[in-house]
């Protein structure tokens, strides 16, 4: 919290803040209350609308769909990291033969909307006899897009390390690969962890695009349940529940990463790298990829 922007409030300011706080609370409560009232008034809180939650089969289906979402996420994440690492290595290569294609791939895949890529794999490629299931199309799309974004992140992370690291490693007689694998990558990974995690959250959220090509994931199930006449078409309750599930999954992922990072920091006797320099590279990379 950047509370450096204002003084410790004096008596007058405190009063003003208190008035503002009251106004703010009333405002926020007003908005939330109004929305809540609309929900209530349009019958969204009626017990019938929430009855579906009680059925064992529906709970099982819900769990199954969460797994389907997580499956696409897990496979997509692993492959995107691999693909990103390969592209980053290409972009950092001293040979133009590698650097050129890697740069082109990164630029092109970052410029094409992920949904168009998924359409391309699912609807376009069968014209030349390459057939993919919805799951594969989603995973391949996620891999190529996020891999390209991660390539930039990895590259920026390695570039942000002090030159002395490379020079010292070379001075010790290490080879190019050794310098990269033993010296640069471990440091860069730690440095870029927050950005990588926020990209993984993006990847997790983007699995929901599978909805549009009918991949049987969580949001697709929301659509199905929300259309059930026998429960009174509980579209609003279903959306709320599914949104809560997505938010929880994303927050858990972030929390997991932060915990891992903390433990990592504690283990190593190194001082954390100055993150000020990193923020400059990390911010554009992170926001590029929402």
């Amino acid at each position: 919290m950047s509370n450096v922007l204002f003084d410790v409030p004096g008596p007058k300011a405190r009063l003003r803040h208190q008035i503002l706080a009251v106004v703010g609370v009333i405002g926020v409560a007003g908005i939330v209350g109004f929305i809540g009232y609309r929900f209530y008034d349009s019958g969204q809180f009626a017990p019938k609308m929430w009855e579906w939650l009680q059925y064992t089969t529906i709970q099982e289906q819900l769990a199954e769909r969460i797994l389907a979402t997580l499956k696409a996420f897990a496979l997509g994440a692993v492959m995107a990291m691999l693909f990103g690492a390969i592209l980053a290595a290409g972009k950092l290569s001293e040979h133009a033969i590698w650097r050129g294609p890697a740069t082109v791939i990164v630029e092109v895949f970052r410029a094409i909307p992920l949904l168009i890529m998924i359409f391309f794999f699912y609807f376009g490629l069968p014209a030349i006899d390459i057939k993919m299931s919805q799951f594969t199309a989603v995973v391949v799309g996620l891999t190529l897009y996020n891999g390209s974004v991660l390539a930039e992140v990895f590259r920026a992370g390695i570039m942000s390390l002090p030159r002395g690291q490379t020079e010292a490693a070379y001075a010790l007689g290490m080879r190019k690969t050794q310098v990269m694998v033993l010296v640069l990558l471990p440091q860069a990974l730690r440095v870029m962890l927050p950005t990588i995690v926020s990209q993984l959250v993006v990847l997790l959220k983007d699995t929901a695009l599978g909805f549009i090509i009918n991949y049987k994931e969580l949001l697709d199930y929301a659509k199905y349940l929300g259309g059930q006449g026998q429960f009174g078409r509980p579209l609003v309750p279903v959306t709320l529940v599914v949104a809560a599930i997505y938010v929880t999954m994303c927050l858990l992922l972030t929390w997991l990463a932060v915990t891992l990072e903390k433990r990592n920091r504690r283990d190593k006797k190194l001082t954390p790298i100055d993150t000020k320099a990193l923020d400059d590279v990390a911010i554009p990379a992170a926001s590029q990829s929402m």
């Binding site: 009680q54 529906i58 709970q59 289906q61 993919m132 090509i213 927050l251």
Partner: protein, 296 residues
């Protein structure tokens, strides 16, 4: 920290829910269809699809899951029911596979050709209209039912009496479907009044809510919805097209296609078809018109 609390709350909530888990259905949607005798020692030489089914030991059938009366999956019991499902079961039985050897795969209209071309399903039974364009991509056996495009409107709507009363009305159908193409080609309503979604149930939700005025597709599908909620919807009842439903399969597999034609022809002759109709769509009260099989 916040995430941990959230997770704990959610977990507790989930446990609480499971504790009071319900079984069964809220309303009776059941209807007993005749069970089919399973054939044994079926041989189909030169059919790659059948080879695949044999080696797998199970049939994978593409169906619709959101069309009451035709292809519908009950979310509380996970059981499929409807006319299309019974036809799918009949075919599986005649190929030598009982009900417990069937895996249903729900596939929406826009993905049907792809699923068949990709080999995701062995065959597809789900309000699949036979036409020349599709025949270039997939094979068809049938028709096993002849439907016609009609309109579903709100019960209290008296303005929409047929396809010519649609001008200025908001019409909804499924992306890439035959009915929406017809609406566009014949200019039944203005382009800005056309809404497209992935499934008919989404259109029906919008109709119930009031932001569209009519759902258009085959009368069989619409009757299914009207029967489910008769106090909300009605079918206009003036079909304006001829939609022969076929079983979709791989274009190359002519051996399986021939076998499916045989199965359907036999079923129409010996009364099996009639009993399937009576136990499903027949419940809507309208009489059946037997389709004429067109071999190719």
């Amino acid at each position: 920290m916040r995430a941990r609390t959230l997770a704990a709350v959610l977990l507790a909530g989930g446990l609480a829910l499971t504790a009071c888990g319900k079984e069964g259905t809220p309303g009776d949607t059941g209807g007993t269809a005749p069970s089919q005798a399973v054939a044994s020692d079926v041989k189909l030489d030169g059919s790659p699809t059948f080879e695949k089914i044999k080696s797998r030991g199970r049939v994978v059938i593409g169906v619709k899951e959101d069309q009451p009366g035709l292809g519908f999956k009950d979310p509380t019991t996970n059981k499929y029911s409807g006319f299309d499902i019974e036809i799918a079961k009949l075919v599986a039985a005649k190929l030598g596979f009982a009900e417990d050897k069937i895996d249903y795969k729900a596939i929406a209209s826009a993905g049907r050709e792809q699923a068949l071309i990709n080999g995701d399903v062995d065959y597809y039974v789900g309000t699949y209209t036979i036409n020349a364009g599709r025949k270039e991509k997939v094979g068809f056996a049938g028709p096993y039912y002849t439907a016609g495009q009609d309109l579903l409107v709100r019960k209290d709507d008296t303005a929409i009496t047929g396809k010519d009363a649609l001008k200025g009305k908001k019409v909804c159908s499924v992306t890439g479907s035959t009915p929406i193409k017809k609406v566009k080609e014949e200019g039944l309503t203005e382009p800005e009044n056309i809404t497209e979604f992935q499934n008919y149930s989404q259109c029906v939700s919008k109709l119930a809510e009031g932001s569209i005025d009519a759902v258009t597709t085959d009368d069989a599908i619409l009757k299914g919805y009207a029967a489910q909620e008769p106090d909300k919807f009605k079918v206009v009842g003036k079909p304006f097209s001829n939609e022969p439903y076929g079983i979709g399969l791989s274009k190359e597999d002519t051996v399986l296609r021939g076998k499916l034609f045989d199965i359907l022809e036999a079923a129409l002759k010996d009364g099996t078809w009639q009993s399937i109709y009576d136990s499903t769509l027949g419940k809507s009260g309208s009489a059946a018109t037997k389709p004429l099989i067109e071999r190719y």
